[in-house]
Amino acid sequence: MSAPLKPILLVEDNPLDLELTLSAFEKCKLGNDVTVARDGAEALDYLFLEEERPLHEMPVVIILDIKLPKLDGLEVLEKIRQHPKTRYIPVVMLTSSREEEDLVRSYKLGVNAFVVKPVGYKEFFAAIYELGMFWGVFNEPPPGFRKRG
């Protein structure tokens, strides 16, 4: 019996995109829970406010939209990379468009992957599936983040 899988943190403000993404995750049949934050501030609250949240309960991957209310995705990424508790959590930008400026800034801030949401549903589904499989299942997290069991 394995311990519960660490959750995936999905930060997405657009309800339609959120529903599409969640249904894609559902189709992937990933074991990980998906925690949703609807804006940048909520994402940071989840990561930092509950002091006692143990390391192993931290998300296995954070999937960030760039255009978000309050704090945008790049600001959230910057905070994540500054804090020792979250520094090593993989972050994937999942965004509407391949703006060169966004791409450059994301990589400068230490993003792990930059994925442009495909227009076609099949492609979108494929992208989410690969994301979930790679970061949620195959990727080996840094020591201390290892799931128990």
Partner: protein, 743 residues
């Protein structure tokens, strides 16, 4: 300003050094006493004291002045004498002697002494004229005179008042040379009208004395000076300052000058304008002459009124000139205003432009333009002149009527540019507006040869003996520039500089505006790229979800409609993507480096395998020289051109695609892609490179019509261009030229 050429540097320097204010002697037509203002005791007297008072200087010196004047009508006025002020002497009652001689008594203060002069009166044989009525009449005539006849009337009236043989109106020029501008005379003395006299004739210290004391009087140039006794004031040890003395003995050089001119008696009045010595009214007589105090006073008053008349004449002439120049300037400004090339606009106003400085020619020279108007030197010489002007320093305005003296090259352009008036209109570039005046060969009549104002004789210098007219022909001179013209040029410069500044400000404003709208555009396209794509994604995503979920429930028509919705949303998304890509290419920074075009082409062709597979294609590929540019963008250019060539030659068997490069224009390299496809009508060539412009129906050839717009944008961003040639049914050639940077 310099003196006429080859003018001797050594002039009557003796004269310039003469102690004219403290000669230590007086003329013999009177007696001088100097007593301490405080104690009233005599300190110095003229050696001829006995002529009037019958006692020797030795007997009088040190005694109270009251004692000397005892038993004269003046004995009661000793106190008034002690109170006189410095400056022109004050008149006191006459003193008549038993011998029948009478003396006019004048007194003024000089330092701490009172100078009393007793000037011998002319024999009262003829009743003296009513000087007051005469003066009134003369002044009336002067006031009635027109501007042109003013000077001649002044000469006439002064001669009428004084009865002298010749009266000259002598005017100083900028260099203190004198010129006789009006004259009234009788047959006793020759005419000096229009003659010039060199500045050395009246040296600076004399001019300064003439400025503060308006009167000089020499009744007889052959006089023997009478020394003062003792020579120096015994209390102060200084010589007596006779600046305001009427009996003051003049320089022996001046006396010799008068004798050489043949005039035993002279009297002159200064004409002062403001603080400046404008000229002299000079009266000459062929025999010695004594002039009573009253007549002198009348002449002095007359000369002051004359000075006022001259000033108002010059002012009104100047005001009139300036008004005309201002109107001229206003018309020029109106012509320049609102024209982007205001200098060309200025040059087009030839007549006013020249009139502004009363010039025969003018030039405007600015960094990238040169305009010549009227009579000017050749273009190259004007450029040389501008360069020379620039080397002269940072003066805003430069004016000369003798350019060749300063810039020897100008000797060759004397017929157009002996005189130059230039204003600098930029502190950064050698930019000037220049007016030209041609040479005016003038004959100047000098009173004697100005180059020989002195005749060397033995040990001392003597003034020249000949006042015969001496003519000098002056070359390489233009008419001099008037102050009003120089001011007008300066004003025009100010206006031009104003226009330049305003244009610079407008440009700065415009670029600020552009920058802002660029920023707006960038943020607009950023928002679009994020927000516009989302709805298409949702349409496609949810339609596909719907189709998967409800597959069996759809009729075939419903199924088709759903597919159309999905297709349309997909292609709309693609349009948005292309448009954003196109916008990005305009904004993205160029990552320039050396690009191997052969490698790039190979990669592009390899990437198009899906389009070439199964087709019969003849590739004619020449060696492509490398170029400096953004590899990603250049790849896109090749990708578009080659893919187009493949697409539009689809029906050819075989399709022939030729790719090469040529050097047609200097500094540029032109790449081309040619096909034997369906070609196009040159009438539509301009539409080819537009965004979303297509020459074929969508169902014939796929694509959205943005590829060539991208090609052109990339070419232009690299400083090059893109164009095409074609013929329907025969094929098309596409060209992209890019600048080459020489290693």
């Amino acid at each position: 300003m310099t003196q006429p050429d080859s003018f001797p540097a050594v002039d009557l320097s003796n004269c310039a050094r003469e102690p004219i204010r403290i000669p230590g002697s007086i003329q013999p037509h009177g007696v001088l006493l100097a007593f301490g203002a405080a104690d009233g005791r005599l300190r110095q007297v003229s050696a001829n004291l006995a002529d009037v008072f019958g006692i020797t200087p030795e007997e009088a010196l040190g005694k109270p002045v009251g004692q000397l004047l005892e038993n004269t009508p003046l004995s009661s006025q000793i106190e008034d004498l002690r109170q006189v002020r410095a400056g022109p002497p004050k008149k006191f009652p006459k003193l008549s002697l038993p011998s029948g001689k009478s003396y006019q008594l004048l007194a003024h203060r000089s330092g701490e002494v009172v100078v009393v002069e007793l000037e011998e009166c002319p024999p009262a044989a003829t009743p003296s004229p009513d000087i007051h009525a005469l003066l009134q009449d003369s002044l009336d005539r002067l006031r009635a005179a027109s501007a042109e006849e003013l000077d001649a009337v002044a000469a006439q009236e002064v001669r009428r008042i004084t009865g002298f043989d010749r009266v000259l109106i002598y005017r100083f020029d900028e260099e203190w040379n004198g010129m006789v501008i009006a004259e009234d005379r009788n047959e006793h003395l020759p005419s000096y009208l229009d003659l010039r006299f060199p500045a050395s004739d009246i040296p600076e210290q004399a001019r300064e004395l003439y400025r503060i004391n308006r009167l000089r009087l020499i009744p007889d140039a052959a006089y023997q000076p009478v020394p003062l006794v003792p020579p120096l004031d015994p209390e102060t040890g200084k010589a007596l300052d006779l600046s305001f003395s009427v009996l003051r003995s003049v320089s022996p050089i001046h006396l010799e000058y008068m004798r050489n001119m043949g005039i035993p008696a002279s009297m002159s009045f200064s004409v002062i304008q403001g603080e400046r010595l404008w000229g002299l009214i000079s009266c000459h007589n062929h025999v010695p002459a004594v002039v009573p105090f009253g007549i002198r006073t009348a002449c002095d008053l007359f000369s002051q009124v004359y000075a006022v008349q001259i000033e108002s004449r010059e002012r009104s002439a100047d005001a009139h000139r300036r008004l005309k120049l201002k109107q001229c300037e206003a018309r020029l400004l109106a012509a320049m205003a609102g024209r982007e090339n205001y200098l060309a606009a200025l040059a087009e106003q030839g007549r006013d432009f020249l009139a502004l400085a009363d010039a025969q020619g003018a030039a405007i020279i600015a960094d990238d333009q040169l305009h010549l108007v009227g009579r000017t030197p050749k273009e190259e010489i004007v450029r040389d002149l501008a360069q020379w002007l620039r080397e002269q320093g940072k003066e805003e305005v430069f004016a000369t009527d003798r350019l060749a003296d300063l810039w020897p090259q100008a000797k060759d352009i004397a017929d157009s540019a002996s005189g130059v008036l230039a204003v600098s209109i930029s502190s950064l570039h050698p930019s000037f507006v220049i007016w030209f005046r041609p040479e005016v060969v003038q004959t100047v009549k000098w009173g004697g040869d100005p180059r020989k104002p002195v005749e060397p004789e033995a040990k001392t210098l003597h003034p020249r003996k000949s006042f015969e007219m001496w003519k000098e022909v002056v070359h390489l001179r233009s008419r001099p520039w008037q102050p009003s013209e120089i001011d007008a040029a300066r004003d025009l410069r100010q206006s031009i500089v104003g226009i330049v500044l305003r244009q610079a400000e407008e440009l700065a404003e415009l670029s600020k505006e552009l920058e802002r709208s660029n920023k707006e555009l960038a943020s607009f396209s950023y928002s679009v790229s994020h927000d516009l794509r989302a709805p298409f994604r949702h349409i496609v995503g949810y339609s596909e979800l719907l189709r998967d979920m409800e597959k069996e429930h759809f009729s075939p028509a419903g199924q088709r409609y759903l597919d159309i919705i999905i297709e349309s949303a997909l292609s709309a998304g693609e349009l948005v993507d292309s448009l954003l890509h196109f916008a990005q290419m305009g904004r993205a920074t160029l990552n320039r480096r050396q690009v191997d075009m052969n490698t790039l082409l190979c990669e592009v062709i390899a990437g198009l395998e899906s389009e070439t597979a199964g087709r019969q294609i003849v590739w004619r590929i020449a060696d492509l020289p490398p170029v400096e540019g953004d590899a990603v963008m250049l790849r896109m250019v090749l990708q578009n051109l080659v893919s187009n060539a493949l697409k539009y030659s689809r029906q050819r068997h075989p399709a022939v695609i030729e790719i090469g490069a040529e050097k047609k224009e200097p500094g540029m390299i032109t790449y081309f892609v040619r096909d034997n496809g369906i070609g196009f009508d040159m009438a539509y060539v301009d539409k080819l490179f537009g965004v979303f412009q297509r020459l074929h129906r969508a169902e014939e050839y796929e694509g959205i019509g943005i590829g060539l717009a991208n090609v052109r944008r990339v070419a232009e961003r690299h400083g090059g261009r893109a164009w095409a040639e074609g013929e329907p049914g025969k094929g098309a050639s596409f060209y992209v030229s890019l600048p080459v940077t020489e290693p």
